[in-house]
Amino acid sequence: MRYLPLTAEDRRQMLGVIGADSIDALFVDVPASAVLPGPVDLPRVAGELEVERELTALAARNRSAGSGPFFCGAGAYRHHVPATVDHIIQRSEYLTSYTPYQPEIAQGTLQVLFEFQTQVAALTGMEVANASLYDGSTAAAEAVMMASRVTRRSHAVLSGGVHPHYVRTIETLAHVAGVTTERLAPAVDAEDAVIAQITPQTACVVVQTPNIFGTATDVTRIAQAAHAAGALMIVVTTEAVSYGLLKSPGDMGADIAVAEGQSIGNALNFGGPYVGLFACREKLVRQAPGRLCGETLDSDGRRGFVLTLSTREQHIRRDKATSNICTNSGLCALAFSIHMSLLGEQGLRRLALLNHQQALRTRDALASVPGVEILTRRFFNEFAVRLPMPAAEAVEALSGQGILAGVPYSRLEPEAGLDDVLLVCATETVTDDDINAFRLALTEVLS
């Protein structure tokens, strides 16, 4: 087997050094009843060619986003990632290193994390950010748990614009942690409706901008209402490129900003791995989940970086930890940080505007299709439309014509009664030809 360096002779000699007469002697503590006599019933060793053949055949059965007009968003976004990014993240020193527990020989990873934290703090307009979480949805759930610890209250109010899968992720954790949640009915443009639900028992208000229907909202007024009641304001964003165009959560009064960072530096990957962004006010940081990288000095007085404030974490605090999280999404955070560095502020702003432009063009094209109603008024790069037929059926029909037309809202929340709502996203990867093809095909499907 090509990954195993020991030869039969090595094994024999090493057993001799150990003083064992066979490999079985090293497994002597395993109960006899549980010892498998031979290999389990699965295929045997396979060469690189054979494995590559099998997986390439499987991959070929999937319709990749790049193979035709593509308009899916709703929490995962297709952007162009510079070739440099993937090259760097495949360097051995990044790809095959562990969590930087020995900072003297992990300054590469640690400096990148420090730069990443600074970038995320700047983008979100917050004071500090952590070294990433699993993804946007788990970051949102962690934020609600954190707000409950900070306020010592146990009720969360969620707007009707929060991604339904984020809602379920939050509810799943909140339920067992004794935090009750009130989620308002799905609404295209009603983030403000949470204000009426805030009470003196509210730990946090969770709103999303741009929300699942694409609506961008100035949440300043909501934040003020939350703060007046002693609650924390959590702002969720699923499309990080929007930070390049829209006011940041920090500008609007957020106490905690969480986001899915996939759209910068990371591929779609059928849903994972992604990278959760988590930023908050500095005074709350000791209640924050996940890893934090901080600056310090070495014994010669030179600047260096270490993982810090680990007394929050499970390996020190065990059952008193702020979270059970042991890993971040390091390599995806690296990809994010490289792509962000390449873009710079200028590149990000331009990229964001290009996204907005292609979305406006898509909206205008679809608005001209008889029977289509545009539901979202102010959006970044995605919006919702109402179709005169179930959106899932339209998507299937368009898929048959080679167009991946977006995400039916019913895919996210079948019981919401919004079967005719389609979520459409256009990034910089969408061409004017793609938009035209979408318009023509949709016209045909609806006629």
Binding site: L42, C326, G344, H356, R411
Partner: protein, 523 residues
Amino acid sequence: MSMNNVGRPTAPNSDSGSGGFAALTGGRGLLQDEALIFERDGWFKTGVDLPEPVLSAEGLGDLVRQEAIGLPGLSEPEAMRHYVRLSQKNHAIDLALYPLGSCTMKHNPRLNEKLARLPGFADIHPLQPQSTVPGALELMDRLAHWLKTLTGMPAVALTPKAGAHGELCGILAIRAAHEARGDDARKVVLVPTSAHGTNPATAAFVGYTVREIAQTADGRVDLADLEAKLGPDVAAIMVTNPNTCGLFERDIVEIARLTHAAGAFFYCDGANFNAIVGRVRPGDLGVDAMHINLHKTFSTPHGGGGPGAGPVVLSEALAPFAPAPWLVHGPNGLALAEHEVDDAARAFGRMSAFHGQMGMFVRAYAYMRSHGADGLRQVAEDAVLNANYLKARLSDVMSPAFPHGPCMHEALFDDRWLEGTGITTLDFAKAMIDEGFHPMTMYFPLVVHGAMLIEPTETESRQELDRFVEALRALAGAVKAGDVERFRNAPHLAPLRRLDETLAARKPRLRWRPEAVQTLAAE
């Protein structure tokens, strides 16, 4: 000296300055002193050429950001150099043995990287029509089949995103199962003192009270103590097997029997499954749930701290409570059940937005397929052989925590052999850096004083193991010779000298701000 609460020093010794040769401009030969991206005056640079937008965002009115964000840019050559220079300050498994016990730093095959980047896997959207991704669903199903077959378990939840996320999934399923049978009296989870910190953290996160189970002198769960603590208030036990001392729990079947007799579930922390894969099926031991770290046993890269992947295998009793989404075999082939309705009505909820770490599924499956059933069995055998070889060759100069009998995939030493030398486990570990090796896991498990947990994995050759042994024996010789300075001031040859963790925690600087360095140095 500053210590953390497990007795580990966190600040350098006061007398540990180098005083040796220094370059004039802060360089170290090929190791470049590399500024932060924020210190390069790149505020108006970009390394990406994008077309000029022709439409404006005027329709968004005052939603548009006005002030500068504060993000520097780098041209492509600058970016390449920045990240390559930084990379050279990292240790990596591709450079040398990386013996972090419990972390399983094994070779990461590049075939897996290549396959995960096929557009048919990397460039597909989690919410595009299921009819357009049959190959992706088939891959998940094949991965699930391998995981179930290797563990002897009937079901698997693929969505957890890391080991600790898998623990959470397993404990949530257990909680849901108790709730479903109306048993709400169970408030306690039992965890051995040697457990990973994630175990008690997970149980507490889910609202359970954690009670510790004592350990016997030979490093296993104390059955009598377990039996005494099992009762109608216990929801589950969480036991790592092989355990964090690197030992197989001999009484594992009895542990499972006692647990089930008390009406509790047996959660197994599968972090160390790599020691037994292909030779022992956890399902045959009475396990109800176990997470599998694909980044440990199945070689997906650790990437400097994630992303991980932590599928959880489940027993018949727990399977109905698995979180959405999951795969179902329907009349039209495979489909994802994404909502908690119909057959999935008892699902405890959802772990994250989408379907799990697909990119890691591809890598792990390619790894399994490459090894095959026979190769995976050999993985376990070689991992255990390598660990026992290190233990045998180091036991005369260091003190093994459990000298009698074989270890599994990792060898545990304590610091008795350092007693009276003035050298700590941390000092010894830092001196290993000067010899070109990453230190072993230090001060874990907590049950052993000054613990040094060494896991070589199966992908080390005998030559590399011998090189490692010679380095450790040489260091042990220096300990014996009283060469204290070598250790107390180590590392001498790393990109940086020992870092002050106390300073970092006392005045946290978690992001770049102009002139932060000067202030810190002046304090």
